[in-house]
């Protein structure tokens, strides 16, 4: 456990100056600022809507693009960036020649990518809520404060986060196996497009495709807008977690046998 904690500390220390780390923070910040500006400048078109709908208008563009493209791409990029740091400096050999268990080195990287994704989703939830209330301060006509969306927003972004675990594990495995940008990135991107389409056309087996999980989650969030209850642990999320656990274990056996040339 101690070696897992210090490996995690090291992951943070190594990546705190990288684009992967900052993109996890800047992405929600910039998107929320952009949408807030839209609300502030176009407020007259929005006055007529009740607060519940205002919140959904704020969330919809973020979660829509998030599910179909942004979340998978963010995960694909973060996974690549965190593993590529070791390939780039040829540092796998020094990591594995330290008195640390291979399991803790492997787990810390996996957990760190999960943490970065969690950080982005958490910041999205937090910044959306903060932005809504900030907009009301500037444009009191937009009465965001009359509806409390906190639970729904945290549930939605929590669910989006959980839907990405399956993709994280697959991308992580691909990056561990290949010292390459194109293979994991290209394959991940292709799978995202195909599976997103599968989910959107309502293919019944989409619930078994890890790259469909974020799209399915967004569809679920959108239906909550119409009054349906947002259940976090639906089949897609359970499958995402199962996929994450299974691929993580397979990946460990690959790492344990990995030849550091």
């Amino acid at each position: 456990m101690h070696s897992l904690i210090i490996s995690l500390q090291s992951e943070f220390y190594k990546s705190r100056k990288t684009l992967a780390f900052w993109s996890s923070i800047l992405l929600p910040l910039l998107l929320c600022i952009a949408i807030s500006l839209g609300f502030i400048f176009k407020y007259q078109d929005l006055i007529k809507h009740p607060p519940q709908i205002l919140w959904f208008y704020f969330i919809s563009p973020i979660s829509g693009i998030m599910g179909s493209l942004l979340l998978p791409i963010l995960v694909i990029y973060n996974t690549y960036a965190v593993t590529n740091m070791e390939y780039k400096g040829d540092t796998w050999k020094s990591l594995f020649s330290l008195p640390l268990s291979k399991l803790s080195i492997y787990t810390s990287k996996f957990l760190y990518i999960i943490f970065l994704t969690f950080l982005t989703m958490f910041l999205f939830a937090l910044l959306i809520i903060a932005s809504g209330h900030a907009i009301e301060l500037i444009r009191p006509q937009l009465e965001f404060g009359d509806y409390n969306p906190n639970e729904l927003i945290f549930k939605a972004f929590g669910k989006l986060f959980l839907s990405s675990i399956g993709i994280i594990s697959i991308q992580f495995l691909m990056n561990i196996m290949w010292n390459d940008f194109l293979k994991p990135f290209g394959l991940g991107f292709l799978l995202t497009i195909i599976c997103s389409i599968m989910a959107n056309v309502g293919w019944k087996y989409a619930v078994y495709l890890p790259y469909s999980f974020p799209s399915l989650t967004v569809m679920n969030i959108m239906s909550a807008k119409k009054g349906a209850e947002l259940i976090i642990f639906d089949q897609a999320i359970i499958n995402s977690l199962i996929c994450g656990a299974v691929v993580f274990i397979i990946g460990y056996f690959i790492v344990a046998k990995k030849t550091i040339k």
Binding site: Y13, K14, K17, M85, L98, T259
Partner: protein, 302 residues
């Protein structure tokens, strides 16, 4: 308790169908500077990676301080520091941050970084991105990373690569100091005998994965026995005369013949003998093969 910091017993390692290390039995005594020599591609780096468990060896073939490496991986690595091939550094971090990161991973106080930077002469470049370091500076940083945990056993794979003459001398002195004053054991690989013959106490020579020589540096010197090189107008006759006189011929070519040197008087006798038998002696002299040639001789035999 084994007296060897490193011991391999009939170590064999294959990359697919290719055998890269064959029946290697290294014995690195504690407190020694062990020069691990061999031409490029001889299997030195592969052996070092096996010693670090980066490549998995068959069980009961590699022992670090008497303990089998596969079943004592973490305990063994705790006592080792290594620099393998080009230094493994994070280019986006500064030299100091690279060391701090290592301190985090090894649970060492961060104050150790300044000491290490000063030791390898990188104090002024501590806050410069390591990616912008010259090859020599990267090598120094790699050595600092290997030394930071104060390991009992250091594995240095061609540590002077990219260093200027001053840097080479500094590393040489550092190795001597580490063994003499601090009782460390160092295995240092090189493809140049001249580079380590001044520091090494023990030498292992490897080629094509096989250990061709292992012993103290003095035992290596002893291999280089002096000989008498004689140039005459009639080689065949000279060889016949010398052989009949009981001289041991070690080398012959079109112009010269070399026999084992015994004494100066014996050398004079050989000269007289040749002249008296009608052979004109153009030159006769004692010569000793230098270690570099000896190394080439040893490695060219397999």
């Amino acid at each position: 308790m084994s007296n060897f910091a490193i011991e391999t017993v009939g170590l064999t390692y294959n990359f697919g169908a290719q055998t890269v290390v064959k029946d290697l039995s290294l014995q690195v005594p504690q407190g020694s500077i062990y020069g691990f020599l061999g031409p490029n591609g001889a299997g030195k780096t592969t052996t070092i990676k096996i010693l670090l468990n980066l490549l998995q060896s068959p069980s009961d073939q590699v022992f670090i301080f008497g303990k089998e490496i596969n079943s004592n991986r973490i305990a063994s690595l705790k006592r080792m520091g290594a620099l393998v091939e080009q230094p493994a550094i994070y280019a986006h971090l500064t030299g100091k941050e690279n060391l701090v990161n290592r301190c985090i991973l090894l649970g060492i106080k961060r104050s150790k970084c300044a000491e290490m930077l000063s030791l390898v002469g990188l104090t002024d470049a501590a806050n410069k991105k390591a990616g912008k370091y010259s090859l020599g500076m990267k090598q120094r940083l790699g050595i600092a990373l290997a030394l930071i945990s104060d390991p009992e056993l250091l594995l240095l794979d061609e540590p002077t690569n990219g260093l200027d003459p001053n840097g080479i001398i500094e590393i040489r002195n550092l190795m001597i100091e580490l063994t003499a004053k601090h009782g460390k054991t160092i295995l240092v690989s090189s493809h140049l005998l001249a580079e380590i013959e001044r520091t090494a106490t023990h030498v292992g020579i490897i080629n094509k994965g096989q250990l061709l020589f292992q012993g103290t540096i003095n035992e290596l010197h002893d291999l280089s026995k002096p000989s008498v090189k004689i140039e005459t107008d009639n080689q065949e006759k000279a060889i016949e005369i010398l052989s009949n006189a009981g001289a041991e011929i070690v080398q012959k070519d079109g112009q010269t013949v070399s026999v084992i040197f015994k004494t100066k008087a014996d050398m004079g006798t050989m000269n007289t003998l040749l002249v008296q038998n009608g052979v004109t002696v153009f030159s006769i002299g004692k010569e000793r093969k230098d270690l570099e040639n000896l190394f080439l001789d040893i490695t060219s035999k397999n």
